[in-house]
C-alpha cells in the first residue's frame, strides 16, 4: 500500500487547509452531474518550483513559484464542460462544478447521488522527499559555479556560459464519478547549460545540454560525472559547430543517433497515435491498427513506468495507473494512447496517458516515455553501410502535422557520412519526412538503445508536459535534409 503515503500527503497539502473532506468530493461530483452527464472529475494540484541561474560567472538570479487550484470537468457524450478555481474550499469546488455542468443543461439527467470514491494501491514511482528543500542553496550555487568553471576550462573558445538548475514538486489528487480516488507526489529536477563559443575570427556558435528527471537532486548531483557530462556535451556541440560546413540539401540516407534523436519517434509516429486524433479521424494513422507502419525491425513502446524518467508517472492525471503500452510491434501498429474520454468513446481502455499541464487545463492523451527497442546492429556497422549521407546525433526539437503525417526535427549536431565513414561536421538543418512511411524505411536498428538525459518538453494544444524519449541508432534509407548545399 505504498500509494497510501501519496494519498495522505496529497490530502494534507491540498484538502485539509480548506477543511475539505473526501465526502465533500463525492458530494461535489454528484453536484457536477446533477443536470446530466456521463462522467465528472475533480483535479487538485499544488506545484512549487525553484530555479537558480548562473550568468557571467555569477549566480545572479533565483526564483520561487507557487501554483494551486482545482479543475472540475463534466463530460456528456463528446461534450466537455470545464472550470477551475484557485480556492480549494467546499464553496470554490462547488462553484467550479456549477460552471462546468452548464454544458449539460440542455439534456436534463437524473439526480446522481451515491457517488463513492475509493483509492486502489498503486506502486509509487519516486521518492516523496521534498526536492526543493533536500539540497542546501550553497550546494546548488557551488554546482552551478563548478559547471561554469569546467566549461571555461574545457576550451578557451568558450566565452559565455549560462547554467540553470530547477527543482519542482507537484502534488495532485484526482477524484472521479467512476469511483477513482488517486494521488501522486511528483518530483522534477532539471539542470542545463548553454555555452557560446567564438573562434576569434568572427564566427560564433552555441551548444546546449542538460538533464534531470523525476529523481532526487541529491542523487543527480552525487552521480559521478553526470553533471560534468552535460557540460562537456554543450562545449563539444558549440566547438564542433565552429568548424561546421553548410549542410547538404536533398533526399539521402540518414543515420539517426541513439538517445535524444528519439524525437524522431515522438514526432513521426507518437502524436499520430494519440487517441483524440484517432477518435476524430484527423490522424494519418486513423483506422490503421493491425496494419504495417514500420519495418520488421521496429518495436515502439510508450511507458510511464521507467524509473526516474521525465515522462514517468505513478498514476496519470486521471488516476489511471501508468503502464507500458506497445504502439508498434515488429512493424505492425498495435494500439493508441488513450485518456478516459477518448477510450470511452472509442470503446477501448484508458492506457495511463491522460495528462494535463495543470489544474487549469483539460486532460488529453499524451505520451509519457516513448522509445524503440534495440535491434541487432552495431552502430559502427550502420554507419559503414552508408556511402553518402548524414549522421545526425543531436537535435533541437520537432513538430508534426498529424493529419498529413509530415514531421520535422532539427539537427544541431550532424556530420557527413562519406564512404562509410563519419567525416565533416555540418551546420544544423531541419529534416523532414512522412510519419506513416518513415519507419518503413528503417533498414537497420542498432543494439545501443539509449534514453534522453531528461530535458524533453512536449507541446500540444497549448499545453506543455514533460516527456522522455529513447532510441537506438537507426538507419533511415531516405529522408529530406534541409541544408543549403546541393
Amino acid at each position: 500500500m505504498m500509494q497510501d503515503t501519496n494519498l495522505k500527503l496529497a490530502q494534507q497539502r491540498l484538502l485539509e487547509p480548506g477543511n475539505v473532506t473526501v465526502s465533500d468530493l463525492e458530494n461535489a461530483l454528484a453536484q457536477a452531474l446533477s443536470s446530466g452527464g456521463d462522467f465528472a472529475d475533480l483535479y487538485f494540484q499544488q506545484s512549487r518550483l525553484e530555479a537558480w541561474t548562473l550568468e557571467d560567472q555569477k549566480v545572479k538570479s533565483g526564483t520561487h513559484n507557487i501554483d494551486q487550484g482545482v479543475g472540475v470537468r463534466v463530460n456528456s457524450g463528446e461534450k466537455t464542460g470545464f472550470a477551475y478555481s484557485e480556492s480549494i474550499t467546499r464553496q470554490g469546488i462547488l462553484e467550479a462544478a456549477r460552471q462546468a455542468r452548464t454544458i449539460t443543461r440542455t439534456n436534463r439527467g437524473q439526480e446522481s447521488g451515491g457517488i463513492q470514491v475509493q483509492a486502489e494501491p498503486v506502486p509509487r514511482m519516486y521518492d516523496t522527499e521534498d526536492v526543493l528543500a533536500a539540497v542546501e542553496n550553497q550546494h546548488i550555487i557551488d554546482t552551478l559555479r563548478r559547471m561554469d568553471a569546467r566549461a571555461r576550462a574545457a576550451d578557451s573558445r568558450v566565452h559565455k556560459v549560462i547554467c540553470s538548475l530547477v527543482t519542482a514538486q507537484e502534488t495532485m489528487l484526482v477524484a472521479a464519478s467512476d469511483g477513482t480516488l488517486a494521488a501522486d507526489v511528483r518530483p522534477m529536477v532539471k539542470i542545463s547549460i548553454q555555452v557560446v563559443a567564438t573562434d576569434g575570427k568572427g564566427r560564433t556558435e552555441t551548444g546546449f545540454a542538460g538533464g534531470g528527471g523525476r529523481r532526487s537532486l541529491r542523487e543527480i548531483l552525487d552521480t559521478p560525472g553526470l553533471v560534468d557530462s552535460f557540460v562537456d556535451q554543450a562545449v563539444k556541440t558549440a566547438v564542433i559547430n565552429l568548424k561546421a560546413k553548410p549542410a547538404p540539401a536533398g533526399s539521402m540516407p540518414v543515420v539517426v543517433g541513439s538517445g535524444w534523436p528519439g524525437v524522431l519517434l515522438h514526432e513521426a509516429i507518437g502524436h499520430g497515435l494519440e487517441g483524440d486524433f484517432n477518435r476524430k479521424g484527423s490522424s494519418a494513422f486513423s483506422g490503421r491498427i493491425g496494419q504495417r507502419v514500420a519495418s520488421d525491425a521496429c518495436t515502439v513502446i510508450d511507458s510511464g513506468l521507467l524509473p526516474g524518467r521525465r515522462g514517468s508517472l505513478s498514476v496519470d492525471d486521471e488516476g489511471t495507473p501508468a503502464a507500458e503500452n506497445v504502439l508498434i510491434e515488429n512493424g505492425i501498429l498495435r494500439g493508441y494512447m488513450q485518456d478516459k474520454l477518448n477510450a470511452r468513446l472509442m470503446g477501448m481502455s484508458a492506457t495511463g496517458n491522460g495528462r494535463r499541464e495543470s489544474f487549469a487545463h483539460l486532460p488529453m492523451p499524451r505520451m509519457t516515455n516513448t522509445y524503440m527497442l534495440a535491434g541487432e546492429h552495431d552502430p559502427g556497422e550502420i554507419i559503414a553501410s552508408v556511402d553518402k549521407g548524414l549522421y545526425a546525433v543531436n537535435f533541437a526539437g520537432g513538430q508534426v502535422d498529424i493529419t498529413n503525417g509530415k514531421f520535422v526535427f532539427s539537427a544541431n549536431e550532424a556530420y557527413l557520412i562519406e564512404n562509410g565513414k563519419v567525416t565533416t561536421p555540418v551546420k544544423g538543418a531541419t529534416l523532414i519526412g512522412d510519419g506513416p512511411t518513415v519507419l518503413t524505411r528503417v533498414s537497420m536498428v542498432g543494439n545501443d538503445l539509449a534514453f534522453d538525459q531528461g530535458l524533453g518538453v512536449c507541446g500540444k494544444d497549448g499545453q506543455s508536459v514533460p516527456v522522455g524519449i529513447g532510441q537506438p541508432t537507426l538507419r533511415v534509407d531516405e529522408l529530406t535534409v534541409g541544408g543549403t548545399h546541393f
Binding site: E50, E55, D56, K58, V59, K60, S61, G62, T63, H64, N65, I66, D67, Q68, G69, E78, K79, T80, G81, F82, A83, Y84, E86, T102, I103, N137, K160, V196, T198, T204, E205, A247, A249, G250, S251, K280, A284, A396, G397, G398, Q399, D401, T403, N404, K406, F407, V408, S410, G428, A429, T430, I432, G433, T480, V481, G482, G483, T484, H485, F486
Partner: protein
C-alpha cells in the same frame, strides 16, 4: 484612475484592489530591508468554446491571478544589487508572505550585479493616453457557441469536414508598482476565433485553418467568411507533391512572413545581444535590409495588440522607427540590458510593441507575378533557426508557382538560408497586411533560398 485605460466600474474596483495589494507588498519588503523592489499583479478571465460535428465540444472558463515580487538587496562592501524573485498564483496572505520570504531569501544568496536595479525615476511613465485596448463586450457561452457553429457550418458547406471551430473572449489587467513610488496599470479585452478544416482526396488527408483576433467579438471577421476561408485553404492543399531540390525565389505569405519579423525582434533584443547570442550583434546603424524598407514601432496604436504606456520596468514607451531606409535604428532594451550594453533603455522590457512593416508592393497576385517562377510558402514547421548565426532551415508547405500562376501544392520540403542574406535579399513586402497580431506585415518575397525536396 489616471494611470491607465478607461474601463468600467467593476474592473476599476478590481484594479484598485490589486493596487493596494501591490502597495502593501512593496511596503512589506521595504520594511524587511529590500533596497529596491517591484511587484506585478495580473488577473485575467475568459470563456472559450469549441464545436465539432455541429455540436458543442468544449466549454472552458478560465480565471487566473498571479502576483510576482522582485527584491534587490544592497549588501555591505559589495558593488551592485542582489536580486531575488518569487511568484504565486495563490493570493491569500500566507502564500504572499511565503513568496516575499522566498524572494528575500533568494536575494541573500545571489551575487550582486552592478547593472541590476529599478529604472531611473526620470524614465518612468508619466503620460497615460487612452489606448482603447478595453472594448466593453457582453460574453455568453451561447453567443460564442453560435458563432463557432456558424463558422463550422459555413466550412462544411464548402465540402470539407471540420476538426474544430472555436471562439473565445476574455479580459484582463496588470498592475506594476515599484519602490520609486511608481504604480500603474494596463487593461485590455480580447476575442479570437478559429476554424480547423480537414479535407480528403485519394486517401490522403490535409488540414488547414483560419483565425482572427480582435479587442472585441464584434471586431472579428464574420463567422461565415472564416469558415469559407478555412475550407478553401484546406482544399487547395490536396494533391500535394514534393519538389526537385534547387535554389529558388521564395514568397512567404503574410501569416508566415510574420515569423521572419519575429526572428528580427529576437535578434535585436537586449538579452540576445549581451549574451552574445545574436546574429545582429552590433548591427545598429548598419544596412540590414534593402534601402526601401521601413519598419516602425508604435506603442500607442488605438486598440493595438501590444499597445502599452509603460514597459515591464515602468519605463515610458515611445513610438519610433526601428528600420529606416533599410538601416537598423536601434535595439529593444530593458533597463538592465541597456546598462550592460552601455546604451539608453528603449521602453522594451518585455519585448516589442506594435510593429508595422511598410509595404512597397501590391497584393498577393501582384507578388506572385513578381515571383514569376518559384515557391509560395504558406506554412512553416519546426524551430530550425539558430539565433546566434542566423542559419535558417525549416520545414515548409505551400505552392509551386510558374509565370506568376500557382501550379500545384507542395509539401515535405524545407527552405534554408541565412537570415542575414534573406533580409538583405528581400525583394518586396506586399500590401496584403496580416493585421491579427502585434507584428503587422504583408507577404515577403526573398530573392533566393535553398529548397530541399525529393529529387
Amino acid at each position: 484612475m489616471q494611470r491607465g485605460e478607461s474601463v468600467n466600474q467593476e474592473i476599476k474596483t478590481k484594479i484598485e484592489n490589486a493596487k493596494s495589494i501591490v502597495a502593501e507588498v512593496l511596503e512589506t519588503v521595504k520594511r524587511l530591508g529590500a533596497f529596491e523592489a517591484e511587484v506585478v499583479y495580473s488577473q485575467g478571465s475568459g470563456l472559450a468554446v469549441s464545436t465539432r460535428g455541429g455540436q458543442v465540444d468544449t466549454v472552458e472558463r478560465n480565471d487566473d491571478r498571479s502576483l510576482a515580487v522582485t527584491v534587490y538587496l544592497k549588501k555591505p562592501d559589495q558593488q551592485g544589487l542582489s536580486k531575488g524573485s518569487a511568484s504565486t498564483a495563490v493570493l491569500d496572505a500566507d502564500a504572499i508572505a511565503l513568496s516575499v520570504e522566498k524572494a528575500m531569501n533568494i536575494a541573500r544568496w545571489t551575487e550582486p550585479d552592478p547593472h541590476m536595479g529599478l529604472a531611473d525615476p526620470s524614465l518612468l511613465a508619466t503620460q497615460f493616453p487612452d489606448l482603447q485596448t478595453w472594448k466593453p463586450q457582453t460574453v455568453s457561452a451561447d453567443a460564442l457557441i453560435q458563432r463557432a457553429l456558424q463558422a463550422e457550418s459555413a466550412a462544411r458547406e464548402c465540402g470539407v469536414s471540420v476538426d474544430n471551430s472555436s471562439a473565445q473572449a476574455g479580459e484582463g489587467f496588470s498592475v506594476y508598482g515599484n519602490s520609486h513610488g511608481f504604480i500603474g496599470h494596463q487593461a485590455g479585452t480580447t476575442a479570437s476565433a478559429s476554424v480547423v478544416a480537414l479535407a480528403e482526396h485519394d486517401g490522403a488527408m490535409e488540414r488547414d485553418y483560419w483565425w482572427d483576433a480582435s479587442r472585441h467579438l464584434a471586431g472579428l471577421m464574420p463567422a461565415e467568411d472564416m469558415g469559407e476561408q478555412a475550407a478553401c485553404r484546406t482544399q487547395k492543399r490536396l494533391g500535394a507533391k514534393k519538389l526537385a531540390s534547387g535554389s529558388y525565389p521564395v514568397l512567404f505569405e503574410a501569416p508566415v512572413a510574420k515569423s521572419l519579423v519575429g526572428h528580427l525582434l529576437q535578434a535585436i533584443s537586449g538579452s540576445a545581444l549581451y549574451q552574445d547570442a545574436s546574429f545582429l550583434k552590433g548591427a545598429a546603424g548598419q544596412a540590414v535590409f534593402p534601402s526601401w524598407l521601413q519598419i516602425s514601432e508604435d506603442p500607442f496604436v488605438p486598440g493595438g495588440f501590444a499597445s502599452r504606456h509603460f514597459d515591464n520596468d515602468g519605463v515610458q514607451t515611445r513610438a519610433r522607427s526601428l528600420v529606416s531606409d533599410g538601416v537598423l535604428q536601434g535595439y529593444l532594451l530593458s533597463c538592465y540590458a541597456a546598462r550592460r550594453l552601455g546604451l539608453e533603455p528603449t521602453g522594451n522590457a518585455g519585448g516589442a510593441h506594435n510593429i508595422e512593416v511598410h509595404a512597397n508592393a501590391g497584393d498577393l497576385p501582384a507578388l506572385l507575378k513578381q515571383l514569376d517562377t518559384g515557391l509560395l510558402v504558406t506554412e512553416l514547421m519546426g524551430q530550425g533557426m539558430n539565433p546566434v548565426t542566423g542559419d535558417y532551415s525549416r520545414g515548409a508547405s505551400g505552392f509551386w508557382v510558374e509565370n506568376g500562376q500557382i501550379q500545384y501544392p507542395v509539401n515535405e520540403i524545407t527552405v534554408a538560408g541565412n537570415l542575414k542574406d534573406m533580409y538583405a535579399g528581400l525583394q518586396a513586402v506586399g500590401s496584403d497586411t496580416d493585421k491579427r497580431s502585434k507584428i503587422q506585415t504583408g507577404s515577403w518575397l526573398i530573392d533566393k533560398m535553398a529548397v530541399a525536396g525529393n529529387r
